[in-house]
Every structure is written in C-alpha cells, then in structure tokens.
Amino acid sequence: MKNRLKVLRAERDWSQAELAGRLDVSRQAVNAIETGKYDPSLPLAFRIARLFEQAIEEIFDDEYAENDND
C-alpha cells in the first residue's frame, strides 16, 4: 500500500529510528511500511495517524477506492 510516511517523517526531520521509537515498533517495521512491503494493522495505522495529527486516509492511499466508486 502506498503511503506518505516517508514524506511526513522528512518534514519533521526524523530518522526511521526516531519514528520507530515514537511508534514503539522496530526500525525495520518503519522501513517495510514506507517501502510498501508491509501494510500496518489498523491499530498501528491509527497510532501513525495520531502521531502526525492526520486522518488515516491522508497518510495511506486507498488503492481500491476508485474501483469501489465505479
């Protein structure tokens, strides 16, 4: 799943390790989410959204939304 995590992290000048520590996950988890190799669970997605003070759909791209609206 595409997301804006890397952009949001860069805006705050945070390293992957900094973000991982704030989310209480491993640095590898942050990297896997940023590169789209792993989709976070809903609770983790909410934690990410809370940390960046944005809605989940503003961070994560709902790739199925266009198909559902057809």
Partner: protein, 155 residues
C-alpha cells in the same frame, strides 16, 4: 507499555524516539540471549545425562536411555523453550516481527506435514532410508529458520 507509548507519541523532545528504540533493541537482544543460554543449558543437561549407544542427532533414539526424572525435566524445558517462551516474547515485539514469525512457523509446520509422506514414499522406493522423527523435526526447523531469515532480509 501504554504509558510509555502515550508519552512517546506526545513527547516533543529531540531523539526521544531513538532513545526508546535503543531500549527496545537492548530488550530484544536480552531475550535472544536468555533463549540461547536456556537452550545451551538444556542441551548440556541432555548430553550429560543421556546414556546408551544411541544418538539424538543421528536418529538412533531407540538405543538411548534417560533417567525418568531428567526426561520429565527436559520435556518441560522443551515446552517452555519452544512454546511458552516464544509466545511470551512475541507479545512484546512489533507486529512485523509477529507476522514474519507466524509465516515462518506456518511454513515450517507445513514442511513437516508434507515432509513425512514425501520422505516415506522415497524410502519405499529405495531412494532414502526410512524417515526418522529427528529428521522430520530438522526439516521443520531448517525450513522455519531459513524462511525467517529470508523474510527478515526482504522486509
């Protein structure tokens, strides 16, 4: 855990995340070290107390004898080391680690399930010796560990 998480989420101090991550990594390393030490102690006890001409590693289990009390102790240690301890530690790692562990364990179990009939039919055909319990365990273990490392590298 929740208090730490709330504090982390709202904390504006620089590098608070990296400090938390370092603590987290130290905790993870200590769990791995405890697991390794536990395994070494169990292996040492097993090697020290097993008697007879047999050998666990070669599958010649019929010729091994073990004091019943030691056998019970080691069986309990195996359950703790292979079931209870991993499940406990999985409650304290992040969800990616749980995901990787679950996938690796599932494929390891599948390898054992499939391994027996495949090995047995090849043995009946005269291509391999008869399957052994330790051999099947080794297949499951190697597949599980191999896939765990593969998934970790790819993540």
């Amino acid at each position: 855990m929740m208090n730490m998480r709330k504090m982390t989420m709202t904390d504006t101090r620089d590098n608070i995340g990296e400090q938390n991550l370092r603590k987290r990594n130290r905790r993870t390393l200590s769990w791995i070290a405890i697991g390794l030490i536990f395994g070494l102690i169990v292996g040492f006890i097993l090697g020290f107390y097993e008697e007879g001409e047999g050998n666990f590693l070669t599958g010649d289990i019929a010729n091994i004898s073990l004091d019943p009390a030691i056998a019970i102790l080691i069986a309990i240690a195996f359950i703790i080391g292979l079931v209870i301890y991993p499940l406990y530690t999985l409650k304290h790692v992040d969800e990616l680690e749980v995901h990787i562990n679950a996938n690796a364990a599932a494929f390891g179990g599948l390898a054992m399930l499939v391994g027996f009939p495949v090995w047995q039919v090849l043995a009946v055909g005269g291509l391999l010796p008869d399957p052994t319990a330790i051999g099947l365990f080794a297949i499951g273990f190697v597949v599980s560990m191999g896939l765990y490392i593969w998934f970790k590298i790819r993540a």
